[in-house]
């Protein structure tokens, strides 16, 4: 039963929103390599969505290209989700390890990524009046990923339905707390940098005189 290759597991997990991840857990399957590949694809999708989207659907500011927002939008958010979920669920008797959370969450992202690429393709074929098709694809893809993500968290930690909802809410809260700390940390570093640079300027003036 269920003797699938790693690639077949990906397909199985994505195509079976309810049972897929349970089966995967039962078989102790899932590959970190594929998970990282998916996150990389997510990053590429984010960049492509921002830069080469059909021109009739809006213009990208192309005077400068800053990669940081795209990294934040894809990789950093994903990492925050994984770390946040791990941190929350360790306290909530979750059974998932950080590695498993990462793998399962990444697999769940596939419909979302596929949706981005399909929309990208459609945006070069359709005109503004037909944007409703893009909207439909977008809703289906995102909804699918939401369901998969829920199912992934549920099975990786072996939670009940209610507890999964609770865990996800707490995870999102944890992500915000991380964001807050990050901003705090950044501003602190900036202050320290300004302090040091001021001292340097001050000293350099004295030395010259």
């Amino acid at each position: 039963m269920m003797d699938l290759t790693q690639k077949q597991w990906v397909k199985h997990a994505v195509m079976h929103p309810v049972e897929g991840f349970e089966d995967m857990r039962w078989k102790k399957s899932g590959s970190l390599k594929i998970a990282f590949g998916i996150v990389l694809l997510l990053f590429i999708a984010a960049v492509a969505d921002g830069r080469v989207y059909g021109f009739q659907f809006g213009v990208a500011y192309d005077k400068t290209f800053n990669i940081i927002p795209y990294i934040v939008k894809s990789i950093v958010v994903f990492a925050a989700w994984v770390v946040g979920n791990w941190a929350v669920c360790t306290l909530l008797d979750g059974e998932g390890t950080m590695k498993n959370i990462c793998i399962y969450s990444a697999y769940a992202l596939i419909p979302y990524i596929v949706q981005i690429f399909i929309c990208l393709l459609l945006s070069h074929i359709l005109v503004q009046d037909e944007a409703v098709f893009i909207q439909a694809v977008r809703i289906i893809g995102t909804g699918w990923t939401a369901i998969l993500l829920f199912s992934a968290i549920k099975s990786v930690h072996q939670y009940s339905f209610g507890k999964t909802v609770f865990a996800i809410i707490l995870t999102i809260a944890a992500m915000f707390i991380m964001l807050f700390l990050l901003v705090l940390f950044m501003s602190l570093i900036q202050q320290v940098y300004i302090f040091i640079s001021t001292i340097y300027t001050e000293i350099s003036y004295r030395v010259r005189v």
């Binding site: 003797d3 699938l4 290759t5 790693q6 078989k27 102790k28 399957s29 590959s31 021109f55 009739q56 659907f57 809006g58 213009v59 500011y61 005077k63 074929i125 005109v127 503004q128």
Partner: protein
């Protein structure tokens, strides 16, 4: 400072090089400032000048002695300029090229034969229908209507109406075709006072809206819980009053000079007093106010005068930066002219702007001069193209737009013009190219729709054939795979198991 020195140096050098004989040419060779325009993102980019300062006219040039704090300039239907020489309490009428004086109005004969003079007149207007001169005689609290021989026809004073309270200090005055008189008053925020042809007060016209800032909204909510007595003692929320206006046919354009207000700074009012620009998201003056380090203040635009040219272009005069922002009648920015400087083409305190033909006239109330700007060849082409484009002659506008692009590759309106013209001609591919360069998704969308239709029509056979082949191919492949599967399944089982083992080892 360094930059100014450099400009001065280059100017000096060019003067020396060219010799004394062609100094006037050297003065016209460049503007004493960097000419700029705005791109689609609202960022300032270098551009070509649409106007260049030609000469400066002072009271001495006109032969009437120095002007003192002139506040308004108006060009009538006979191309005679009326300059409101406020500090000298007179109106100076000069001919169309501002070379000689036509008449100086300082003494007026009242209907009963007595003589009256002005006291700090602020605005002047001449009606094209009746030929009467309307003077906002500010400190005398009246509006004088007289004929060209200085015989007073009518005198409008503070209305004895319950609607009107406050002082009557006219700043600007205009009259419409029907003879209704509109007066902008100092310290009156409820709009311009409107008088009928016989001088009867009929109400207010075109008040600004109160800008819903956080403070105003907060005050409104607080007011809900307050007693009437308390409300009466609180500061009231009133809009900023109108600063100046101009009339163009059936529409009155008003401007409001306020460093804090951003809505309603420029309005186009119909006969009912409704603002036609209200529904558009428009900004007048500089998009991103510049911070001036030498004055330690943000140069917030304050549109202090407005003028509608004969071709419908809107000239807005920004008091803070001394710049004239010229818009076409659809409020697309055309040119930015002028600066604060002590050179020809620079100002110290602008007070009014007027246009005649292709020229711009800017009045400076501190230098006491009128600066004449003439259209450059670039400006001429842009105006030509814009006029044709706005009238719907896209095809005819194509050539001038190409010419504009030759001279200034950053001029966004030209790309839009070319894209629209090519779309009209059915050249969808070209239109898409130029729409992309203009960052104009809407035009691109239309052009793309046409292009797609053409593409489908031309290649429908190939596309249909390709689809058919693809579908047949998939069906055939599936059938083959199904046939193979029973045989392959047993063979694949063993390697699959091996894979899983190796997968576990990796973990």
């Amino acid at each position: 400072m360094k930059k100014r020195n450099k400009t001065l140096l280059t100017l000096f050098a060019s003067c020396v090089l060219l010799g004394g004989g062609i100094v006037s040419f050297a003065a016209r060779a460049g503007e004493p400032y960097d000419v700029y325009n705005y791109d689609r993102w609202g960022e300032a980019i270098p551009s070509q000048a649409g106007y260049i300062a030609d000469r400066v006219v002072s009271g001495y040039d006109l032969g009437v002695g120095a002007m003192s704090a002139p506040s308004d300039i108006f060009c009538d239907h006979n191309d005679i300029f009326y300059i409101c020489d406020s500090g000298n309490n007179r109106i100076v009428a000069a001919d169309s090229d501002l070379s000689s004086i036509v008449k100086v109005y300082d003494r007026f004969t009242m209907p009963d034969g007595s003589v009256t003079t002005l006291n700090k007149p602020m605005g002047v207007f001449v009606s094209a229908e009746t030929g009467n001169i309307y003077i906002a005689d500010s400190e005398n609290s009246r509006v004088l209507v007289c004929d060209t021989d200085a015989n007073v026809v009518m005198e409008i004073t503070r209305p004895e109406s319950d609607l009107y309270n406050g002082t009557f200090l006219p700043q600007r005055v205009i009259a419409d075709k029907a003879g209704n008189v509109y007066v902008v008053l100092r310290n009156i925020t409820t709009g311009a006072a409107m008088f009928d042809a016989s001088g009867e007060f009929t109400g207010f016209y075109g008040a600004n809206r109160v800008e819903p800032t956080a403070e105003i909204v907060g005050n409104y909510i607080k007011n809900l819980f307050m007693s009437e007595e308390k409300k009466a003692r609180r500061a009231r929320n009133v809009p900023t009053g109108i600063t100046s206006f101009d009339i163009d046919g059936d529409f009155i354009f008003t401007c409001t000079s306020s460093s804090t207000q951003t809505t309603d700074t420029v309005k186009k009012l119909n006969a009912a007093g409704k603002n036609i620009f209200a529904s558009k998201e428009l900004a007048f003056g500089d998009y991103t106010p510049m911070y001036d380090t030498s004055q330690n203040k943000v140069l917030q635009p304050a549109i202090c005068d407005i003028d509608i040219a004969d071709d419908g272009n809107i000239n807005c005069l920004d008091y803070t930066t001394g710049r004239v922002f010229q818009y076409d009648k659809d409020c697309n920015l055309l040119f930015i002219t002028g600066t604060i400087a002590r050179q020809v083409g620079g100002f110290s305190q602008v007070s009014a702007v007027e246009s005649l033909g292709d020229d711009l006239y800017v009045l400076d109330s501190q230098k006491n001069t009128v600066t004449v700007f003439v259209e450059t060849s670039f400006g001429e082409i842009v105006h030509d193209a814009t006029d044709k484009f706005n009238a719907g002659y896209y095809d005819e506008a194509l050539e001038p737009w190409y010419e504009v692009l030759k001279r200034d590759g950053n001029y966004r309106r030209a790309y839009i013009g070319v894209a629209s013209a090519l779309y009209n001609r059915g050249d969808y591919k070209g239109s898409m190219k130029y729409a992309k360069l203009a960052d104009a998704p809407r035009i691109y969308n239309k052009a793309f729709e046409g292009y797609r239709m053409e593409f489908l029509k031309a290649n429908f056979g190939y596309i249909a054939a390709g689809l058919a082949v693809l579908i047949i191919g998939i069906i055939v492949l599936k059938k083959r795979l199904k046939k193979r599967k029973p045989a392959a399944e047993t063979a694949a089982a063993a390697p699959a198991a091996e894979n899983e083992v190796s997968g576990k080892e990796e973990e």
